[in-house]
Symmetry: C2
Subunit: 197 residues, 2 copies
């Protein structure tokens, strides 16, 4: 992974086997994410895969989820459940950031990596809208990045939750768009895909 | 401010003059917040006032709000607009944390202060539900604190936004209650006010 020639990076969040069981609608967005992933690879837009992984003993699981984890462990590092789904597997050179909380920024080196890449806009997709997507997006805002959410490449437990969260995030100044519109605006020379070249 | 004899601290967020103009419903919750504030003082529950303040030149304002700020500055440190509303003024010994982003934890020493107090539960009130309340609450979760939101001492631009955000936060494991129920549970010996003494 080298410094990007673009001002944008793609973040794909929590698209792991166990997460697909926890957020069943995640399966539906895999083809959409694959489209923007392949587009990004073709256009040399850096891709960062953000995954949640936990220790087998669960000591790094959120306190409010620890009982749940003890009953049925999830996203344990090294297991098939923690692997990124086959369709979206990282390729050589793509960065993988491991986290243990909702936000991809929380006690990870994501900010450092993005800073080195020299990008100013983060395009975000994955699961799920109210938790890992929103927390990563709002932390990105706090660090003064422009944020673009691909609404058809993000999902939640229900359509209502998904929409209510997109509404809030739009109010915060986050750009909400679709994969097609993003790719189209990029092709038209707006690298940020957000109407602000 | 000394180490607390309780396991709980009260966080009051953004109850400042300019914020009341930005979130008009904030005026309605002042009496409710005052009730829990006075109760906390009487019962030696530590109170932390979290405020948003900006430099007059706005260089520390979120990028997405900087145009808005240049047009009409808000929450500028040292101005009346940045002061806490008269009804909820801090008293000697209460901590004031200054922030420039949604979350009270973002680049402040809030976590350090709470850690020193030795508390495990944070009771949160103020404005507004989808932004500063939610970001502070979810960061508190990430740091493994138990979080209690006083839903009648928190407000947003609309009732729908308020409710949708409470719904999401309840799903994350945050306890949603009222000031009366919180005070009542505290009086019954449940210091966390969340049904988990």
């Amino acid at each position: 992974m080298t410094t990007s020639g673009t001002n944008t990076a793609l973040l794909i969040i929590d698209m792991q086997n166990d997460a697909m069981n926890m957020v069943p609608s995640g399966a539906e967005i895999q083809p959409t994410i694959k489209r923007v992933l392949e587009y990004s690879r073709t256009n040399n837009i850096p891709v960062i895969h953000i995954v949640r992984v936990h220790r087998a003993d669960g000591v790094d699981v959120e306190r409010f989820r620890s009982v749940l984890f003890q009953e049925k462990p999830f996203l344990v590092e090294g297991t098939v459940g923690a692997e990124i789904v086959p369709e979206l597997k990282p390729i050589t050179g793509e960065c993988i950031i491991k986290k243990t909380r909702f936000s991809g920024f929380f006690q990870t080196n994501l900010q450092l990596i993005i800073s080195r890449l020299g990008v100013s806009t983060l395009v975000i997709c994955g699961v799920q809208t109210p938790n890992c997507i929103r927390e990563t997006a709002t932390d990105a805002l706090a660090y003064d990045y422009a944020v673009v959410l691909l609404k058809d490449a993000i999902s939640a437990q229900t359509r209502e939750i998904h929409e209510a969260n997109l509404f809030d995030m739009q109010n915060m100044g986050i750009t909400i768009t679709t994969v097609d519109a993003y790719i189209s605006s990029w092709n038209q020379g707006d690298q940020a895909g957000n109407g602000k070249p």
